[in-house]
């Protein structure tokens, strides 16, 4: 059946701020809009000048780099992390805010974004788990001076990673040690810290460090994070700068600390039990709370790179032949340049679509954490009211809540019960927590990993220019920078490992099923949105997860198993594609709903929607292709190829059996390939075709998925048409 869609023209201009504010849901947040403008001015001004002037060509901490940090302070970027009473201007959770600021900085340079983020990373352990005094003290030190105040801003660094052979991907094994140096009766113990850091960001300008250490003393229990300050007795050695090939506007180094600090520097405080100092939080607990939020921001940095590549590539493509004597102004070759070629347009469409999907995923994750933060506090308070605090008791209580959350999503409840559960803050917490546990590693993993691959694509669209320092938009830098974003704050293996656990959580899976239905509902109204393709791919992923959780390989070993990363990691990768494409579709739905109310957006809304929806379709098609490939490999790849043995023969026709069938299925003999003769003879090959074995259900899904791709290439053609017509500014707006 043909679907008739109204024809709209091509989108007129690149999506501007007004469109982005709706897509990423901050059109009613003036504080965030201002932060965006402010961060953008620093990025496209001072930072872009530094990059253009070659400031990335040195590993040393230069005056210009120091001035960049000061520019962040003056522009309110540093204060974006602070509460209004600490000198900030954003009330409430700040995940979306920090994501937007990092996005703007990374639009120009990843190192600049990292330099601003690392300060937050240093403060985050204190912010998340510090005592009231610690929080008040260090936030005040790090807050930029208010008008009329003359004070130096104190900067921090976060030191977890240690020189090989210790912490990297596995953050559990620490060699940094904490020992009691002096402990007089009735007085605060003094502790001695030995910590070596590796690849520690901001170290050149850090005045304090939050360092992960483990007890090296029977009088201290477990591990903790401890705050070190320059000026503490002992040695605060910043070490040598790391000779990194990326993010050179941020400082990185391998510091060595040997310091004595009061026990009050243990982040979150401690108690003394039977003469032993027991930190209130282990380093693992603190790091989990911190990374959970900051990793989303890193993922958004790579999204910015992809979207920032669009305009320079279009300009390059269009102007490619201008200036040649034989190419006259007004000719097609003059006006369109390389954009006359379908492939050039379509590859840019792929880059653009990936950028949109990754930004949608990252901002959705950031918003989710903004929702989660107050709920988490409410949860802690509610459980405390009931006398439940931490550990087993909390896990048990939460299991009951999770069961309610799953029931809520099942759709089988009567209205009153559904309303009751829906308004239960604990249920709401459980739902968001489960989703956040997946969306955070998914953003970090997919945005940076796929982002790096697509940055390579963007660079190649600029030809030789792409890999020069002069390339507008600094695309080559961004390509390489993206690789660091895939690595630091937990490389891909860590994210996949986390997904292995969180994506099988039943509250998440219940939501995933609801999301699949939601995509079907969107598809029924808007078949061109890619939602149909995606819903089928989501079903296939869930089917495959279930299959691998129950099936075994040819040797009878379990498929879905923590140690079997070939299965679990592959499914984690596949899931990320789906989540990103889903968020992209939902953002465009939002634009459709809210766009007409905004006069700036409304002007060209139908065409903008058409284009962004075409990008969704393109991306969903790519995502479902990935999912189909990965799932098929997992479903079939662990079966051993049949041989000409008793087991293999089961899948074949016997020759006399075939003769018999021929009677009522004429022609069968001509299509049956693997036939065993009466004497046991068989075709001359290593074994019968494997195709005979396998799951019909899976094949059915794959079949459906293939037909669901209907229209996706038409969408790509249409999007490519827009890319060839859309109006871009006369020149790139950075360096300004």
């Amino acid at each position: 059946m043909a679907t008739f869609l109204p024809q709209v023209g091509a989108m007129l201009t690149l999506p501007g701020d007004a469109v982005r504010q709706i897509l990423w849901r901050f059109s009613d947040r003036f504080d965030l809009q201002m932060l965006v403008q402010s961060a953008r001015a620093v990025a496209r001004g001072q930072v872009a000048h530094m990059v253009a002037a070659g400031e990335r060509n040195t590993h040393e901490w230069t005056p210009a780099k120091q001035q960049m940090m000061e520019a962040f302070d003056k522009a309110g970027i540093t204060a974006a992390f602070m509460e209004p009473e600490q000198g900030g201007f954003i009330a409430g959770p700040k995940n979306l805010a920090l994501g937007l600021a990092a996005f703007e900085l990374a639009w120009v340079d990843g190192g600049a974004a990292t330099a601003s983020l690392a300060g937050f990373l240093a403060l985050a352990p204190i912010h998340e788990r510090g005592t009231l005094e610690q929080t008040a003290h260090y936030m005040a030190l790090a807050a930029p001076p208010q008008p009329g105040e003359d004070r130096k801003v104190r900067r921090g660094a976060f030191a977890l990673t240690e020189p090989i052979p210790y912490v990297g991907v596995d953050t559990g094994i620490l060699s940094g040690r904490l020992r009691v140096a002096e402990w007089n009766e009735g007085q605060e113990p003094l502790l001695h810290v030995e910590k070596r850091g590796r690849f520690i960001t901001n170290i050149a300008c850090a005045d304090f460090v939050t360092a992960a250490v483990e007890s090296g003393d029977p009088r201290i229990k477990g591990s903790c994070v401890v705050i070190l300050e320059e000026g503490d007795p002992g040695s605060f050695d910043r070490g040598t700068p790391t000779k990194k090939l990326v993010h050179q506007l941020s400082s990185t180094g391998d510091p060595i600390f040997s310091l004595t600090v009061p026990a009050s520097r243990i982040v979150g405080g401690y108690t003394v039990k039977d003469g032993v100092i027991v930190p209130n939080f282990s380093h693992g607990e603190i790091i989990e709370a911190v990374f959970r939020r900051t990793r989303v921001t890193v993922g958004l940095m790579t999204s910015a790179k992809l979207l920032s590549a669009v305009e320079p590539v279009i300009r390059y493509q269009r102007g490619r032949f201008r200036g040649a004597e034989s190419i006259k102004e007004g000719s097609l070759r003059y006006e369109m340049g390389i954009q006359q070629r379908e492939d050039a347009l379509q590859r840019l469409v792929d880059v653009w679509a990936s950028g949109e999907a990754s930004a949608s995923l990252g901002f959705a994750a950031a918003r989710l954490f903004d929702d989660l933060d107050p709920l988490e506090r409410e949860k802690t308070a509610l459980l405390a009211e009931r006398g439940i605090a931490g550990g087993r008791a909390e896990m048990k209580a939460m299991r009951e809540v999770e069961a309610k959350a799953v029931a809520l999503l099942s759709g089988d409840l009567v209205d009153a019960r559904r309303d009751e559960l829906a308004s239960d803050p604990l249920v709401q917490y459980a739902l968001r927590d489960a989703a956040a546990n997946v969306l955070c590693p998914a953003t970090k993993l997919w945005n940076t990993g796929e982002g790096t691959r697509m940055m390579r694509e963007a660079v190649s669209l600029m030809g030789g220019y792409g890999i020069t320092e002069d390339c507008p938009g600094f695309l080559a830098n961004k390509w390489m920078d993206a690789q660091l974003e895939a690595t630091y704050e937990g490389p891909e293996a860590v994210q996949r490992r986390q997904l292995t656990i969180t994506m099988t959580n039943e509250v998440f899976l219940a939501q995933f099923k609801a999301w699949t239905k939601e995509m079907r509902a969107i598809a029924s109204e808007r078949p061109g949105s890619g939602a149909c393709t995606l819903a089928t791919a989501m079903t296939m992923w869930l089917w495959t997860l279930n299959y691998t959780q129950h099936a075994t390989d040819a040797d009878g070993n379990k498929l879905y198993h923590g140690q079997r990363q070939g299965v679990t990691f592959a499914l984690a990768d596949a899931l990320c594609w789906l989540l990103a494409a889903r968020c992209q579709i939902l953002d465009v739905e939002e634009l459709e709903a809210r766009g007409p109310l905004d006069a700036v957006v409304a002007e060209d809304l139908p065409a903008t929607l058409q284009f962004l929806r075409d990008l969704c379709h393109v991306q969903s098609a790519r995502a479902s292709g990935e999912v189909s490939r990965i799932c098929a490999e997992l479903v079939y790849g662990y079966n051993r190829h049949p041989a000409w043995d008793a087991e293999g023969h089961k899948a074949c026709f016997l020759s006399d059996e075939l003769d018999e069938y021929e009677g009522f299925i004429p022609g069968l003999g001509a299509v049956a390939t693997d036939v065993i003769g009466v004497s046991g003879s068989h075709p001359v090959k290593a074994g019968p075709c494997a195709g005979c074995a396998g799951s019909l259900d899976f094949l059915h899904l794959q079949n459906k998925l293939a037909t669901c791709l209907t229209g996706s290439r038409l969408a790509k053609d249409r999007a490519a048409g827009t890319v060839s017509k859309v109006m871009i500014p006369e020149a790139l707006d950075y360096p300004q």
């Binding site: 007004a18 003036f30 201002m34 522009a75 700036v600 871009i728």
Partner: protein, 266 residues
């Protein structure tokens, strides 16, 4: 308070200068509503001067009277509000490129006259001596006349308040020179050229403080329909860019510079 002023800055919005500007029938600028906009650069300079003057004279107050489509105004305020403290008076009207200057001036004058508690004896009317979207160069002058202010200065680069309260004004005249004038004091009109101040840095803190007043001002922005006053345009075009490309090899930089200078002198 002695020497305190009520400074009203008039400004429109113009497309961000890097945008591709293409006149279309109407006349209008192609996709103008969707192009990123900025505060008119000439008027923006006057806003920064106004803020500096107000800061130096306690008790002074800065108003920004801006006419543009409301949604566009809101977008631009996200940057402008971060620059200096002011109170916004918003007029929900058309973008400026092809409107009639007389009607625009009348709308501005009416809005200024309606500002509650505005002390006209202390009024300094600021704005750009022309606009970046269409240099009519008469809007501010006409608005001043309509408000009955006849002390007027155009192409202003500097305004100093003397101890005796007199205003010393530097106006641009031909040949890169300035004309120095003295004026008894407010009320007066100042159409600014660039002034001497750099664009202030963004401060989201300041922005949030300004937004407390800006949000209600935007909400109650009066819709304004401008009369064309019989104005019609025969044609509209962007200045022609000429492009002469020549490939040269091994030409010393001085030689290239010399050639460019010679070309410019032509």
């Amino acid at each position: 308070m002695p020497n305190s002023f009520q400074i009203v800055v008039c400004s429109s919005l113009v497309p961000d200068p890097l945008q591709t500007l293409e006149p279309v029938a109407g006349p209008a600028l192609k996709n103008e509503m969707m192009l990123p906009a900025v505060l008119d650069p000439w008027a923006a300079c006057s806003l920064y001067e106004a803020a500096a003057l107000a800061a130096a004279h306690p008790g002074s107050k800065v108003y920004l009277v801006a006419m543009a489509p409301k949604a566009k105004l809101q977008q631009v305020m996200m940057t402008v509000a971060q620059k200096v403290p002011f109170e916004l008076v918003a007029l929900d009207g058309p973008l400026g490129g092809f409107t009639d200057a007389q009607s625009t001036a009348a709308a501005l004058a009416e809005a200024i006259a309606a500002i509650p508690a505005l002390d006209r004896s202390k009024l300094l009317l600021f704005g750009g001596w022309e606009s970046a979207s269409r240099g009519a160069g008469v809007t501010l002058q006409t608005a001043g006349e309509l408000l009955g202010i006849t002390e007027q200065f155009q192409g202003v680069d500097q305004l100093t308040v003397r101890d005796d309260g007199q205003l010393e004004v530097l106006e641009r005249v031909e040949g890169g020179r300035h004309q120095v004038s003295l004026c008894q004091g407010a009320p007066a009109v100042f159409g600014w050229a660039t002034g001497n101040l750099a664009e202030p840095r963004n401060s989201p803190q300041m922005g949030m403080a300004n937004m407390r007043g800006i949000t209600p001002a935007l909400m109650k922005a009066k819709p304004v329909k401008l009369d064309a006053n019989g104005l019609s345009y025969v044609s509209a075009a962007v200045p022609k860019q000429t492009r002469e490309t020549r490939l040269v090899r091994d030409m010393p930089a001085e030689e290239i510079a010399r050639e460019i200078v010679a070309w410019m002198a032509e």
